[in-house]
Amino acid sequence: MSKPKFKNPVVNWIDYRLPIFTFMNHELNEYPTPKNLNYFWNFGSLAGITLVIMIVTGIVLSMNYTAHIDYAFDSVERIMRDVNHGWLLRYIHMNGASFFFIVVYIHIFRGLYYGSYKAPREILWILGVLILLLMMATAFMGYVLPWGQMSFWGATVITNLFSAIPLVGESIVTWLWGGFSVDNPTLNRFFSLHFVLPFVIVGVVILHLVALHRFGSNNPIGIDVQGKQDTIPFHPYYTIKDLFGLSVFATIFAAAVFFFPNFMGHPDNYIPANPMVTPAHIVPEWYFLPFYAILRAIPDKLGGVLFMFGAIMVLFVLPWLDKSSVRSSQFRPLYKLFFWFLVIDCIALGYLGAMPAEGIYVVLSRLATAYYFFHFLIILPLLPKIESTRPLPISISTPIITASSNASTVMAMREKK
């Protein structure tokens, strides 16, 4: 077997039998990482840390929460008023959901921009989309738990979507509700699922990391690592960079939690759920708005549901829709343009999702929805046929040398010698 690698004999003894230290050293310490990653590569670790924050605060909150329609709202208010620092726990958890989506959306758009979904990272990407789906389910059910007006009516609207399924739709909705309306059984099962799904996410995140470490991170120029000269060990270079990224993120997060805790929420959710009174506008949380816009853009109920889920499904097959062998949009002038169109389109969809479904907003929603699918289903497959990509650098090390070899650094290097 391999020679003892660790100074501490106890560590060596354990590692010989259970190679956990070898594993950690390999995956977290010496793990070779491209040396040209920019700050966008911080968002993966940020997402992981946010997930841990959500789980830890969530577990403590659940110790004080009562999943019953008569007590849920008041138990949340008890957390806010009587539990020591309960307000802090709840505001971290509540805003943490929004920040989780901000981080993950940036992470996804980074993947789109730098072609991180392309071979050999297709499964890595698919697992990521799966995490997004699980996150959406978890966030939706979590929003129901405080049992405010938006909780109740959001749950009613979204669960009713399943009634669009032909033949068995109504039965499925009854089955989901555990009754004939959103009621106590619904709240109970949503709490149960909201508790368990994050651990499913952790499982998929582990698979996501295993797939990542198979080929390592993609990088801003999107070409494969050629050898040792292109990589640096993960520790200390990226651990410190992730720490810096985390501290900036935490500052912004803390500003929201301590000074604008309800900015991203809806005031109606501080009104206890009332099945007899429908709010004037039922709006989902901001991170669902683009999908909500797609849902409402389609005049047919079943069609709307299919397109809404289709908007995510299309991401699953993205590695096979984009046939260009060049990953990074730095070398794909046309793709880069269309990437930004897609970003604008998604923002437009988000805006339209918040607007009432009437007049010009309906027309715009349909256009934006059409363009979203047009981007993935038409533009991406056709693009390689018409696009002339820019010449790729020979290796990761080469462009960095040419890019920064201005007079001063050359002088500095000479002086050192």
Binding site: N38, F109, K241, F244, S247, A280, G350, M355
Partner: protein, 258 residues
């Protein structure tokens, strides 16, 4: 890094813009912006105003509106001492029980009791108010968009209805209420109450005071939250600067090699 800044800017803008829109969708009425003592980052509740606001609540609002999430003991945060709290609580009749004989009985309130409710139950409240339920006020500032300005505006918004408008029986005209017809009659009149601290009880003063009191009731943690927030943010800024320079130092050999 130009690209990264752009995207960050975009996404942050996206998020805040949308949430703002989500909140403001369909709400076109503008409320006068009052400079609340609690609205800034360093803001705290004006205790004297909140105490007067409690008096307004007790003598005017509490006839119809409950505050079921607040206990008398919570009022300590407004500067009342234990004896005062006991005295305040004992002014109210609380239904308790069942006792050892299986009977419900009334007794004077204790600081640990929740605020006494004006009606025995919601149905009674609706029946007594011509079909309109007077909402519980414990969370009212958080449960309305732009809550503090809204409430202050609403309380000051009772004016003569336009000539061509018929106000139905049991409804009142309010220029700040959505739809302009509200089931709550004008609650605040000049010298409607006599302030214990001698402040002149103008309708605007009472509206400001009761709004301050209800803002405290909605967010009793606000002062603690903001104080802790300043400490946390200062720490994180220093930590960010330190980790930035640590990063620069650790990366120096890599950057120099290129």
């Amino acid at each position: 890094m130009r690209f990264s800044k752009l995207v960050l800017y975009f996404l942050i803008l996206f998020n805040f813009f949308l949430s703002k829109l989500a909140l403001s969708a369909g709400k076109a009425i503008e409320y006068p912006d009052k400079n609340w003592s609690f609205s800034s980052i360093f803001g705290t509740f004006d205790k004297a105003s909140a105490q007067r606001g409690f008096q307004v609540y007790k003598e005017v609002c509490a006839g119809c509106h409950g505050m079921r999430l607040i206990s008398y003991r919570n009022l300590a945060a407004l500067g009342y001492n234990q004896d005062e709290l006991k005295a305040i609580a004992s002014q109210f009749e609380i239904t308790d029980g069942p006792n050892d004989d299986g009977e419900f009985f009334t007794r004077p309130g204790r600081p640990s009791d929740k605020f006494a409710s004006p009606y025995p139950n919601k149905k009674a409240a609706i029946a007594a108010n011509g079909g309109a339920y007077p909402p519980d006020l414990s969370l009212i500032i958080k449960a309305r968009p732009n809550g503090a300005n809204y409430l202050h505006a609403l309380l000051s918004g009772y004016i003569e209805p336009p000539k061509n408008m018929k106000v139905p029986e049991g409804m009142y005209y309010n220029k700040f209420y959505s739809g302009n017809l509200i089931a709550m009659p004008q609650p605040l009149y000049e010298d409607g109450i006599e302030y214990l601290d001698g402040t002149k009880a103008s309708p605007d003063q009472m509206a400001i005071d009761v709004t301050t009191f209800l803002a405290w009731a909605s967010e009793p943690e606000l002062e603690e939250r903001k104080q802790l927030g300043i400490t946390v943010i200062l720490f994180l800024i220093v930590f960010s600067i330190l980790s930035y320079f640590s990063m620069r130092q650790i990366w120096a050999p890599i950057k120099n090699k290129n």
